[in-house]
C-alpha cells in the first residue's frame, strides 16, 4: 500500500469513527471493540479468580460463573456479531435456535434427574 493509500485509509477510518459515534446506526468504532474486549478480558480473569476462591464463594460460585458466562456471551453476540445493530430477523433466527437448544436439553437433563 502506498503512502497516499495509507493516508486515505486513515482519513476513512477517522470519518468512519466519527460517523459511527454520532449516528449510531453503523458498526461501532474500533475503540468500542477494544473496550468490549477489555471487559471480556476482565470477566475472564474474574471467572478464573472465582475458581480459586471456590470455598469462600460457596453456593455463590455457580451462579456467579453462569452470570459472567452469559454476560460474555451477550457481549460477543451483540457487539462483535453486530446483532445489536443488525436486522431483528437475524436476532430472531439465532435466538430461536438457542432457545430451542436450551429448552430441549434442559428437558433432557431433567429427564435424567441431572439437577
Amino acid at each position: 500500500m502506498s503512502v497516499s493509500d495509507e493516508t486515505l485509509a486513515r482519513e476513512a477510518q477517522a470519518e468512519h469513527d466519527a460517523q459511527t459515534e454520532h449516528e449510531g446506526h453503523d458498526h461501532p468504532s474500533d475503540r468500542s471493540y477494544v473496550g468490549i474486549a477489555l471487559i471480556l478480558a476482565v470477566l475472564t480473569a474474574l471467572e478464573v479468580a472465582s475458581f480459586y476462591v471456590e470455598d469462600q464463594l460457596g453456593a455463590l460460585l455457580v451462579p456467579a460463573l453462569v452470570i459472567m458466562m452469559i454476560v460474555k456471551f451477550v457481549l460477543v453476540v451483540a457487539w462483535f456479531m453486530h446483532l445489536r445493530f443488525d436486522s431483528n430477523l437475524f436476532t430472531r433466527v439465532f435466538v430461536s435456535g438457542l432457545v430451542l437448544a436450551v429448552g430441549v436439553y434442559a428437558a433432557t437433563l431433567t429427564t435424567f434427574r441431572f439437577w
Binding site: 486515505l8 485509509a9 476513512a12 478480558a41 472465582s50 458466562m69 460474555k72 462483535f80 441431572f114
Partner: protein, 219 residues
C-alpha cells in the same frame, strides 16, 4: 416481492422489510427480506449449531456426574490444568477482537490492515488448537484415552468437535487472506469477511460456554 417493491428503490424496500442497513457503503440486497441471503443462511446455520453443541455439552454434563463408583481410569476433572486452559480461552477471546478489527479495516478499504488482522486471528486460532493438542496429549499420557470411560468419551467428543470448528475457521481465514493478497476481496465484498467472522465469533461463544460449564464449574 410485490410489484411496487420491484419498482421501488432498494432502500425503500429495505425500510418496508423493517431493516435498517447497518453499513451505508454496503450494496442493497435485492431479496424478499431486503437482507443478504448469505448472511441469513449463516445465522440459520449458527442457530442449528446451538442444537449440536447443546447436545454435546448436555452429554458431557450427564456423564460427568455418573460412573463415579467403579469408574475406569482417572476422572477428567482431576486432570484439568486451569491456568493453561485460561490462557487458551483468553487467546480465543482476543481472536474475536482481531476478527472484528479485520472486518472494520476492510469496510474502510484498508486492505493491508485487514490482512494483518486476518492473519493474526488465524494465528491466535492456531495457538488455541496447539493448546488443545497439548492438553489431549497430556491427558492420554495420564491414562485418559477416548474410550477409557464415559466421561472421557464425552469430553473428547465435545472439545474435539469444537476444535474441528476452530480448524475450519482457520482454513476460511487463510482463504480470505489469500483472496485479499490476490486482490479478490475488495471493500464491496466485505460481507464475505463478515460472514466468516460470524462463524468465528460463534466458535468463540461456544468456548465461553464450554470453559465455564466444563472446566470451571465443579462436578
Amino acid at each position: 416481492m410485490s410489484v411496487s417493491e420491484q419498482t421501488a428503490p432498494p432502500e425503500v424496500v429495505a425500510d418496508r422489510a423493517d431493516h435498517v442497513p447497518h453499513d451505508a457503503a454496503a450494496p442493497a440486497h435485492h431479496t424478499s427480506t431486503g437482507l443478504s441471503n448469505e448472511k441469513l443462511g449463516m445465522w440459520l446455520f449458527l442457530g442449528s449449531e446451538c442444537l449440536l453443541f447443546g447436545g454435546l455439552i448436555s452429554a458431557f454434563l450427564l456423564y460427568r456426574s455418573k460412573d463415579v463408583e467403579g469408574m475406569v481410569g482417572p476422572a477428567v476433572g482431576d486432570l484439568y490444568d486451569i491456568p493453561f486452559t485460561s490462557v487458551s480461552s483468553f487467546v480465543l477471546l482476543m481472536s474475536s477482537l482481531t476478527m472484528v478489527l479485520s472486518l472494520s479495516a476492510i469496510q474502510r478499504a484498508d486492505h493491508r490492515r485487514a490482512r494483518t488482522w486476518l492473519l493474526t486471528t488465524a494465528m491466535l486460532g492456531a495457538t488455541f488448537i496447539a493448546g488443545q493438542v497439548y492438553e489431549f496429549t497430556s491427558f492420554v499420557r495420564e491414562g485418559l484415552g477416548y474410550t477409557t470411560n464415559l466421561q472421557s468419551s464425552a469430553f473428547y467428543t465435545l472439545t474435539g468437535f469444537h476444535g474441528v470448528h476452530v480448524t475450519i475457521g482457520i482454513l476460511m481465514l487463510v482463504s480470505l487472506f489469500v483472496m485479499s493478497l490476490r486482490g479478490r476481496l475488495p471493500a464491496e465484498r466485505s460481507e464475505t469477511v463478515e460472514i466468516v467472522g460470524l462463524y468465528w465469533h460463534f466458535v468463540d461463544i461456544i468456548w465461553i460456554i464450554i470453559f465455564t460449564l466444563v472446566y470451571l464449574i465443579p462436578a
